[in-house]
Symmetry: C2
Subunit: 348 residues, 2 copies
């Protein structure tokens, strides 16, 4: 490399293009920096002609606000934190996607952090991120109610798929979906069913079990809970023996992942699905139709949840005196998606 090319390379790499500031615009347009600021942030406050000139100058300099300089006096960062327990959990794609798009519309940026299922990690990440964001979306959280309330005291929080007193939430209703699932099984002649439950600490698990029980009893079935279990493929696999022992003809699993684990292991053991055993999962995750037979599942509109979560957060941010729990968020209905893993009950 010759000296000249080296010098050129050096020159071509400013790597901090000394971004234009409102002071540069002020100099170029001949107005005061404060006037520039107003022209850019408070349309109407300034004479239209002046405003136009300033905006032209801004464009010419390719001006972009320095978010930090702005955040300092205003306290607003235009960033939202989204905390999840496990990024590989297929349930969250859609939440993230819905939240991302809704946030982008409002000019907000999403900061996503994963706690890797550890409440310590989660607390740390939150601690680190909290000062940099305007609000928090807790999608799955291992935190205790009081911890969540504490955070909600510092910055607005919206919970997805969980309820905590005094904290805003977006929780799609399981009622409809579970009623459909139970009716579906009832119509197929199932009398004795099981719920393969998830983690004891999961709010959603309790919710689903309660609803399932209520509906099953109403439909004249017997129902047993098998668990608690980790919400994993492996846990589904390991449950086969207990399900055989329980003598049921159908199983509803806490989520699709467990349902798939169960389905695959059952088939491996020579149990015919759905002839010998019907299986229904929850969530309609990516891949739940890859199995043979594809999994019947209760689905929710998670993308909508993510979107609603952001909307709820926006309301909280706009209305200072809205109360910590904000405006009640909509919440949508779950519904049953019938695929191949459910069929007529086997005669006893």
């Amino acid at each position: 490399m010759t000296e000249s090319t080296k010098a050129e390379a050096q020159q071509n790499t400013p790597r901090r293009g000394s971004a234009a500031t409102i002071y540069d615009i002020a100099k170029l347009s001949g107005f005061n920096p404060s006037t520039v600021s107003r022209a850019l942030t408070t349309p109407g406050r300034i004479n239209a002609k002046t405003e136009a000139k300033i905006k032209a100058a801004a464009k010419e300099l390719n001006y972009q606000v320095n978010p930090f300089a702005r955040a300092l006096p205003t306290g607003r960062t235009k960033m939202l934190a989204l905390i999840i327990a496990d990024i590989t959990n297929p349930v969250f794609f859609n939440v993230v996607r819905g939240a991302e798009s809704a946030a982008a519309v409002e000019g907000y940026t999403l900061v996503i952090a994963e706690s890797q299922e550890s409440s310590t990690n989660e607390a740390q990440a939150l601690q680190r991120i909290l000062p940099t964001v305007d609000g928090v979306l807790l999608v799955t959280t291992r935190l205790r109610d009081e911890e969540i309330q504490e955070i909600n005291r510092q910055k607005p929080v919206v919970l997805i798929n969980r309820k905590v007193p005094e904290v805003a939430d977006v929780v799609p209703s399981n009622e409809n979906g579970i009623a459909e699932a139970v009716n579906h099984l009832a119509k197929l002649g199932h009398k004795h069913i099981a719920f393969l439950s998830g983690p004891r600490a999961s709010w959603m698990n309790t919710e689903r079990w309660d609803l399932l029980m209520k509906n099953a009893v109403k439909a004249g079935m017997t129902i047993v809970e098998i668990g608690p279990n980790d919400p994993t493929l492996e846990a589904g696999r390991l449950a086969v023996d207990r399900i055989k022992a329980a003598g049921v003809t159908a199983v509803v699993t806490y989520n699709d992942v467990m349902g798939i684990g169960l389905l695959r292991e059952a088939i491996a053991q020579g149990i015919k699905i759905p002839e010998d055993l019907s299986i229904i999962g929850f969530d309609n995750i990516f891949g739940s139709d890859f199995t043979s037979p594809p999994l019947t599942t209760v689905q929710m509109d998670l993308q909508q949840s993510g979107k609603d979560g952001v909307t709820a957060l926006m309301n909280l941010l706009d209305d200072e005196d809205l109360g910590p729990e904000g405006i009640p968020a909509p919440g949508h209905e779950a519904s049953l998606l019938v695929r191949g893993s459910t069929a007529k009950a086997k005669k006893a």
Copy 2:
């Protein structure tokens, strides 16, 4: 709710706990704010005793730096952007996870944005996020080489799974995995194979095709490219006819998603997998073992890639004069994961 409880609730909700500043610490400890700043950020610059006193005061006030106030003079934000084309693409979990953990170790926070496969979105998101981060990790990008170089001129960029002149990258080597895949097929007696290719614009697609071709020829096989295609289930499904027509006994697909689409549609059409047709995918995504038969695939350590990407970025940030492409990143080997979708070639 009685009036007193209401008043209490009000009082318990400061919602901007007026976080402690270095000025508060200065007042409490009796030193100057600048001394406090030094004690907290430049250990050793200050008398050990003083430092201890200040740190004690900081702890007492539960002090936390205001990242914006700090970012203003230093220009460093301790945040990294991670841009992906499609958050539902299972390939990226692991990249994200690896990057997240590596970043956390260094005290960095990850800002994740999704471009939804649109280069316009991507450019916009980048525009919005760029000023707030110290560096950028481009995991899948729809941007053109020049656009990427332009961004690299503003902030350090590290590319994952793509190479662009003058830009640092982390690209795992496909060589080993593809050699294994071809050998595997050769050993099973396949003589005529196809590559179901992905998007024309994908750097990785070209890379895989080139390597595949080279290895197939060396092994004495014929190989044809079928495509380009979208990297989707649907595209895999739609390719069945062309594959039948091509008269090959084995197909390597650009990725697992396409492989799964192909496999399922082939079975639906009565083609026996793997007896009639062997299929090999790429990436070992979640769910690629849910199919019957489970998919044979070439896997890479994406989590390591994410980690290495962050490391490379750190190097770039530490060494101002390192050159735009930084220190060559390691890059790991891909390997073949044999499952059920490959078998002996059918006799002609």
